[in-house]
Symmetry: D2
Subunit: 397 residues, 4 copies
Amino acid sequence: MKIAMLGSGFIGRFYADSLQGYRSKDKIVSVYSRREESARKFAEDYHCAHWTTDLEASIAHPDVEIVCISLPNHKHEEAVLLCCKHKKAVMTTKPLGRNGAEAKRMLEAVENAGIFNGYLEDLVYTPKFLKAHESVKNGALGRILWAKSRETHPGPHSDWFWDLEQAGGGCILDLGCHCVEIARTYIGKDIKPIEVMCWADTQVKPIEAEDHAIGLVKYENGAIGQFEVSWTFRGGLDLRDEVMGTEGTIWTNSFLRTGFDMFTTGKGADYIAEKAETNSGWLFPVGDELNELGYNHMFMDMFNSLEAGRAPKETFYDGYVVNCILDAAYRSAKSKQWEPVLLDVWRGREGVTSQSHLLSYDADHYLVKEEMTHYGAKKIILKHKETGKITEKVLSE
Amino acid sequence: MKIAMLGSGFIGRFYADSLQGYRSKDKIVSVYSRREESARKFAEDYHCAHWTTDLEASIAHPDVEIVCISLPNHKHEEAVLLCCKHKKAVMTTKPLGRNGAEAKRMLEAVENAGIFNGYLEDLVYTPKFLKAHESVKNGALGRILWAKSRETHPGPHSDWFWDLEQAGGGCILDLGCHCVEIARTYIGKDIKPIEVMCWADTQVKPIEAEDHAIGLVKYENGAIGQFEVSWTFRGGLDLRDEVMGTEGTIWTNSFLRTGFDMFTTGKGADYIAEKAETNSGWLFPVGDELNELGYNHMFMDMFNSLEAGRAPKETFYDGYVVNCILDAAYRSAKSKQWEPVLLDVWRGREGVTSQSHLLSYDADHYLVKEEMTHYGAKKIILKHKETGKITEKVLSE
Amino acid sequence: MKIAMLGSGFIGRFYADSLQGYRSKDKIVSVYSRREESARKFAEDYHCAHWTTDLEASIAHPDVEIVCISLPNHKHEEAVLLCCKHKKAVMTTKPLGRNGAEAKRMLEAVENAGIFNGYLEDLVYTPKFLKAHESVKNGALGRILWAKSRETHPGPHSDWFWDLEQAGGGCILDLGCHCVEIARTYIGKDIKPIEVMCWADTQVKPIEAEDHAIGLVKYENGAIGQFEVSWTFRGGLDLRDEVMGTEGTIWTNSFLRTGFDMFTTGKGADYIAEKAETNSGWLFPVGDELNELGYNHMFMDMFNSLEAGRAPKETFYDGYVVNCILDAAYRSAKSKQWEPVLLDVWRGREGVTSQSHLLSYDADHYLVKEEMTHYGAKKIILKHKETGKITEKVLSE
Amino acid sequence: MKIAMLGSGFIGRFYADSLQGYRSKDKIVSVYSRREESARKFAEDYHCAHWTTDLEASIAHPDVEIVCISLPNHKHEEAVLLCCKHKKAVMTTKPLGRNGAEAKRMLEAVENAGIFNGYLEDLVYTPKFLKAHESVKNGALGRILWAKSRETHPGPHSDWFWDLEQAGGGCILDLGCHCVEIARTYIGKDIKPIEVMCWADTQVKPIEAEDHAIGLVKYENGAIGQFEVSWTFRGGLDLRDEVMGTEGTIWTNSFLRTGFDMFTTGKGADYIAEKAETNSGWLFPVGDELNELGYNHMFMDMFNSLEAGRAPKETFYDGYVVNCILDAAYRSAKSKQWEPVLLDVWRGREGVTSQSHLLSYDADHYLVKEEMTHYGAKKIILKHKETGKITEKVLSE
């Protein structure tokens, strides 16, 4: 696959490492950056034939088969529209837009243009997520009740993130977009998100946007998604998910506790551990960051899908749904009440209520709980179906 | 110390194991239970001289120096009033009342009677909490921004918990009382809790009360307490806290991951692992449950305080504040908006605002972030104090 | 219990914290130290009525009921003999002697004198060990095949440890004594240790004694004990055990990973984490060090046993066996071959061979292994009882 | 790259998943199996154009550029010699031979034939190992003192492993080959392994070969490699490494604790967790097994090296050294003493002694240890350079 990379910053380089490293047949053939020196440096580092400071020139370049947008948030729409104009397949870094309206315009544009569109939500492509999601789909956890995703770290790497106008939001938009899609995928992408409650504050940083937020997303079937995001966390990159069902639970830690512990006095060498806040003491490196963060499996899905003529797992439509959920979160943070998710376009199921899942113990009773006592006897707690009376009885073994 | 134990159920036995096991000079001299057989069995097991089914008889027993209330929630008030009548020191299991009004009546009663009153919130006495709290007080985490406590398990052991009238609530009251006091202690017990947002639902169990809830408690200084509670969790007793400050973070796990892993095929023996849902496969026992859950250090504080004539760390006043916070949580779960914490009695500080903590980089700029780049250079992101403009610069080494 | 504490150094203070902190009725009434200022300081800190620089004066003090020896290794024998002379109950820190001969003299002395004798091997009294050992005894792991104990840290606190004459050895004697008794207890204290193979070296420190060693202890029933000890480990105190049986395994970590993680920039305060090598970055504190290291349960067993007129779980006899095993380790490190454990006194079972535990699958075959294949089918690997031929067959489901 | 796969069993399929999955341009064009049905089934599953039960036919097939040997141990040599005859590049699964003599013949054959030769030791290619090894090379741990690798599980999947003649050995050969190369790589592949001490026993299985072994490998510079291997472990696949240096330590866990925890009642579905012994309770899946076990990075190195005309990181020479070390282990298990590693061919450094690394504190003293006391004071322990006397002094702050 021949790729145009738009943007040469932190995330562009991360993508490039994965794009050129994983499937050995993919190649970045053009790179665009606002700044000439950045474009040239990137082209050198990744051996790109063409570099430019003209956005359209990169997209329109005849060799380019797919465009990878790694630009600041406020530049996504312009780039997407140019891809539509030139009928180039496009994939865009997260979040899709700064808000639902912007996302919707991009969604409609690519669908009207009939071009391939991929939404680069890497964290639903991590090896752990893929395997965990498979277990969830197979029913190992029963009916899903709650899914939480937490992403916190000491703040992003580039200046534009901290500027409300360019970024469109703070850590809710930057990190919450990951968390929302993770929880939504566990709960079921065909289940409608109904309303959001969110707290957000600027607790530490000298910025307009929020640097810490916690939100709850209620789905039509009664399941709850939860996100915890912050740019004020100290200790590295905290990336943990939990999902809870009627038959089990899954906990994943993608970064700080992955079975790799290192202690170093720091005396031995200049070695600096990646993303860690310190380079001495106990450190927790990740073996293969690109793979652990999902980049490899994400681009594989994008390219395989494009080659097979089908939509990838994550499309602009997913990006749009995420933006609409985050919009509700921002509204809730201000109104201090649950806010509805306003989805003009909904392609999933409707009317999925939280079904009754009561377990009958006998003709007259529901089973509340069954357990072993301290003394090895079996105890059951029952509720009478009509009177509602709760009783317990200890079974002789 | 000579103790009357009111209640002979699960928690009464847990307390008794700690009370008589830890300080070898303490003794339960009387036990009360509603049911004669339970009272007699408990008296036998713990070698109590006196047992009775008459509540007042136990409290009034001449040998009794302190009364330990381990009764269902709806029986606390009656027992407390009898302690007041007989001027006996009293300590009560959590929660103090079923709501703030009940708690306030108990608080006023013991204070008017002038008797020693202890609130048995064991989870702020666990060895891990005590050490972690010490670090927090010493400033190792800087200014506290957020404190979360999670307690979830597959549901309580006795029938009355599942009956809304007797219990006064579901998992919010049963488990949230722990979580709220943990977060409140990390944030500072003199900082006023202002308002609460809470989601609650009955997702699984055939009961009136909530079996799953998540809540946020906002404090006057801008810090946030969070509780996650459930009676629907599968996998054992999940007891985890996290606290995050401007200079660090602490994570504690008190039950499921404490450095003790066991795999057993279950073939070898009838061994049943405590509180685990299974007795084969990977199990995570706790070394010394009474100590890890804080019972030992809690009773030591109670008795040492009583002997020294001072208030213990946790008094009825703390129980009252917790009940008021939980009342707001219940209101919020219904109103779907933030609800104020109604505290008729407030003994902490007032008017503690979230101070400005902006860090100046130079005369004209605030420091947003300082970090090491991939290439080992130091990068700083600044905000102009007047224009608000965000810029970044890379420092030569 | 009224105690004389001999020695006022690091371990003496640790013991005193536990002795006076746990059972509130025990009291150190006399303290001996070589140096007047140390004795006086200790007496002040722990409110001891009597202090002295005369060893016998402390032991003979009329108030003293039991003597706690916390002296350097080369001073144990002298102190023990004085306890015998004055018929005082005695408990001695580990190792009992510098070698088996010294240990045997002490063993015979206390037994001839008929005094209570306890061996202060705290690490078989940790809450985790007690619970794990209970599971092992209950058969949860089946027949025990291997038990390993690892204790490594950056080196001991007092000067005499580093002096071969006073200490009698390096990390094998200092740390290996713990590890050997842990493995021996898991395998069975009535099973005879037969021979030892040990590697030892002085890899880092400018000392005569070994600073790193690994040893294997073979027991009569074929089980293997393993110790890994070092004074050169960087990263804190590493205290991990593993035990493996035919039906399961147990892993315990008593210090560095116990469900308590803290990150701190170190900016916030002068806080210094206990025993950690640093006071910033990721730290792993222990909640209640005295309890986690077994001191509380050890002294409880000592005093309860003394009061009940029975031998404690760990006596001088155990210390003697440990010393004999370590003697063989030292011989092996020199001879570079397995060395027999020379036990003049053996009170356990004899002739316990490693029994045959072959599992018959049918009349003609032993079962080698049974497993699930990738494809969900059940596969069994068999060995013919006569021909010895190995075959596999896949069972239809 | 066009590949002939020799062998269609467990490991052949694992390799094939990685070979065809990772670099999208590589393809298995021919497969050989002893049994027709296996060859045909494999060819179908992996879309191979050619299958055969004639070993030479597969190797000689004109499309084949490189041969991948995934045969039982006793078939390696024959296959290698055929590759030499047909001048085909070859890579062989581990261990290279059943012993050093066999390995040496293969080594000489490929070198005389001048063909590319790769040794498929995947565990030095795991993402964690690669990153950890990089830190070690950068000096983050200082001088390496000890490196341990542990691989234990409930026994291999195919019948031939259990047959001493075909396999050439038990778990030492099967698993020890991994462990030895891991430790050797951490310590330095140019450092000569000198001698080995090994314990081995058949504790559980009805076989001739050992099912449990522990060994120490001494290197010329004084560093120690350690292996712990077993086919009797219960609990899954235990794959842990530790490396210890003068300035730090690294612990990796590649399988059972990688930040992915799942609890399931097993009620929800037929889901079977990979390689776990159970399918309910707490399970510890691995996200991306092929990547975590090093297959992807291993084959990438093989193909990139072949394309670039250079030797891969692991060649037949490494396989030969490993075999010679394991030979010494087998001899030691019988002789019960340290046995020399007999290396006819040694290509690393000679005469690397364990240098003196004593740290001077001042003109007269070596520094033994520096530490913080309980009371925050700094204490140093010194050794006089001439007298050898050990002293301690507390520094005023």
